[in-house]
Amino acid sequence: MFILFTILFQLIFSVNTFSNLYSDSFHEELLIKRLSSGHVYSYFQFTTLWNTTLDKSTFDHTHLWPRSLGEILGYHNVQELHVSLTQGLWRYQNWGYPVVEAPPGAELWVWFKPDTENVEKEWKLLAGALSGLLCASLNFIETSNSMTPELSFRPVGVADISNPVNSSFLRYATLPREIVCTENLTPLKKLLPCDSKKGLSTLLNAGYVHNTNYHSLGLHFRQTCSGKYCVNPVIELRQTVSLVYDLSIVEPINQDWSIRKLFGVGVGSGCPLASSSRIYVDISSNETGPVFHLTPNPDSVALSMRGGYQSTFAVYDISSAEKLFNINANYRKLSSVPLSYPPPLYVNRYIAGYGQERGRIVTKIHNKHRTPLKIIYLENIPWFMPIYYHTLKVTANNRNINPIQKRYHPGKERVRPYFLEVVLEIPARTSIEVHFEFDYIFLKWQEYPPDANHGFYVGSAVITCMLPVGRNYTGLPPEASLISDSWNASQQGYLVQLRTESLILTLPTPDFSMPYNVICLACTVVALAFGPLHNITTKRLQLVKLDEEPKGVFPFPKE
């Protein structure tokens, strides 16, 4: 009886477990949008949702969720994680805003759970584990290049209301020198339930992905909720790939594009494990810009009214597609060059000055909107670039602007970076300049990387702003998980976190060819000395009697 009861109990328990295990879903989406500059932006989003709470044992059994990633998250007590690996720079001025923002190189920011004991240690270990998972050099992240922004980054997911947000559990780091390549794409695809065998991920062919002007891979993990009153906990993983194609490189003859031209293959059926597999093509520009025609006809057309701006999407549902097909966009008229108009807020950053004594970092922030905008400016200055805080100035047309708030932690050589956060209000239709001076310093000779004269990378600054309008905005609202959820989702404000250009800093560099010369010289000397010494010590000198008479034109006369 007892045994029977136990079996029954186990059965119930395991069914319970399995029901929990199978309460997950996977969605794959592709958004294709022609940007106003003529580039084609394609954004893949693979979303895994799982109705479960997050603790260490959650990832012992997984179904659609990538277990390798899950284990890392559980083991290091992660509440929220955002990784991006990017090649190229998102050109806000010409392209508008992407769905997810990412700086050039690698970026990692993580919220640890409030019960984490040693955040520093977990941070270092987590970066190391992710480095192995994604084949990226994230293991170079350590305390000397990571920081704790106080204002710019908030948890994106659901946070505990009873616990106020404590930014000491946040870590942020960038590796601007990181080069993203196919070795990062492959591990990312391996995390998907269908790998790259079925579904939209078959489009991600390394040869085509890396031919783009911009490509960015991202992993975004957060905790959210479902239900009307947000009572059921959900964990969410979004794997994203953003690509921007320059059509003049892809197709120099005309401006037509198609799935096959962009990705090398047509689209097959969706991943069988996916709950939805859809392709959206933004056709809003058909009304104002160059007109194009899509073949085949879309399954449906969706209208989205958001932030005062209307967008139209052609929707293709590929989950039931039987064979490979191609989506083709043919342009009717090509004579005009589309005029790109800038988004409400964009930014440029550069190093001013010349020589190697003192420089100035200038960040120009342009507000093209008709109302003033409040922004948070987060500067991420590595320790080898000592800045002068007193030279920090914000000017608009040579007039000083007083920041609303300033946060500054001076850096320390080889220990921590310089952290600077400034809250500002940019007057309407104005460009402001934030600038401060810094010194060029000498490093220890072993701290120079290979190819030392290439320069040192300085990571992007982050400009955070709640935009009042949805123009050029494609990001998802905080409660949404899928692209289609963002339609008709008008909000109070639209959060953008612009990443500026990363900079190359030319520090004074010693002439590293000198040790090389010394080695060459020393080797030559050794080689020259070795020959005769070897001869003398190993060979015996003997007198040999000449038997033969000297021959030649003038033989010596005999005595």
């Binding site: 050039p104 783009t212 060059v337 010349y354 004269n453 250009e501």
Partner: protein
Amino acid sequence: MGLLTDPTTGQGKIIQILLNHHGKICVLLFLSSLVWFVLLAHNQFNAATYFSENALLPGLVKGDYSDDGVAKRVMEELEVEADAHQNSIPQSWIVAKFRQFGLDTYLHNFTLNYPLGKKQKYTGTNIYGILRAARGASTEAVVLSLPYRPPSSTNPTTLPGLALMLGLINFFGKQKYWAKDIIFLVTEHEQLGVQAWLEAYHGISCGLGGAVDYGDIDGRGGPIQAAINLEIHGRRLSRIDVKISGLNGQLPNLDLFNLVHRMCAKEGIKHTFYNKDSSSHPNDFVGEWRSKLNTLVSMVATQASGVPNGNHGLFHRFGIEALTLEGYEHGNRVKYITFHQLGRVVEGIFRSLNNLLERFHQSYFFYLLPASDRYVSIGNYMISLGVSVAALFAKSYVTWLQIQINGKRDTSKPKDDASIKTLKMVAADDPKTLNLVGVGSVILMTHFLGMNLLYLCQKFTSLGYFSTEDSLLVVLASFSIISLVFPLVIKRCFRISNNWILLNILALNELATLLLCVAMHNFSLAFIASTIYVLPAILIDSKKNSFYKKTLWLLLHPLLLLFWAVLFYTGFTFMDLSYLTILKRAVSATKTTLVLSVVDTFVYGSWPFTVATSILLPNWLMFWWVLIFSESRDCMDQASKVTKDKSKK
């Protein structure tokens, strides 16, 4: 100081030789410096150029640029467009073309506040477009620039260069291998436009007193690593001349120069350096040496002026390696260079620059070129200057030793009533009576005036009594005359000590130091200055100087020197004119040169004028004081007779 105060100084054998034969030694040193320089043109004393930076991989890929139809079509449009804008840049047309080819296009407005005269304002507009690299994040950039010259310009046209540039933009935009942003820059007002653009790009002013209001630019592409400037004068070219000399004598990295020559050679384009190609004459040693010496001297002369011989010259200050390709229109030759070939050369250069992982840091930044494929390293050419400066130091050391020895002789000799006269003479050399106050005040006065001369020039021209050119000449000439006459007046009116031996020593040392310092920046200028000043400075004696020496030194006054140079150049250029006309032209050309050099100082921060007025001129005046106050030869002869009589007794 131990060396100088050591009582045994001057006793050594070498010192004795130096003391006895210093005149000959100094002249010998000076002559050997000249001989060494002349020898540098010989193949034994220079070396073949080579690539130091392997990452350039010059010419490793096959050039793809083949569609010169675009350039040719654009050229026709451009000619019509240029005719419609006789005095200005066809702004909207160029912007439209840049946009059409997919560049991020920007305008840059700048203003020149003319530093002299009535402070007039001139404005200009540069146009530039950035080709955003597909494989980069705008962290690095390279520049292809071009001075736009409207039809009314006196300089030869650059329109074909612009057509070629547009053809290249069309081609470059379709390539996916770019890792660095390529900036296409079309500037107005020749060098001023480039200077203003560079200042705006780097957000820093280089000139004095805000002469250039560089405005603001929006688009940037990270630090610029190299720049190529195009001056193409025709559709069909006979040859490409490579120009390298920059502001204040700065030169681009030798690797870039080599790269251009390698690419030209690869495409079979005739390329020259100072109008000479690299063809060698294996059997004609003298002819080859002379031709190389000619090129070498041309390069030294250009570099010494400190004025860039093309728009590339302004990039160098910002750590950007740059040079100009100047294409000369072909005459009636059958074989000519087409857009197609030239486009391939530029493509090859940019692809090599694109390969470059590190900034240019290898190879040479200091070099002289006797031919396009031979170079003289700094280690070789510095010897010639070092030797001639050594002559100055030797002379000053010997003079110092003579004071020491005379001082000792003075104290060792018993005092004698009969030798009072002699003693007076000798006492003049006594180290205890070195006339420190006199010497010090002369040095201070001359240098103070020299330093303020530039400011004086600007102030006086702004008063507007004369035209800018005349007033500048008036200021400089009157300053020179006053400073020349002043010691004469002092000598007449006041009885002051005639011991200026210390001034002579210090002047010699200053001249030597000046030459060495200038040589660190601009060898050519230092070398030319040394050939002019070293020998006369050695000949000047602190005690006796003939009238001829004074006249010679007077003729070498910096202002007169400029006039001689201009006169020589004018005479050489217009040989058929009468002497009077040449003289007139030379005077007006001198005035123009003066104005230009002052303006360059304010606008570009060029320093030859500043160095000339604040150090060279005061130094010249110090020697002038020595000459004026030294005894005339007759007086000295009498004194020496007395000394001899005394010794006989």
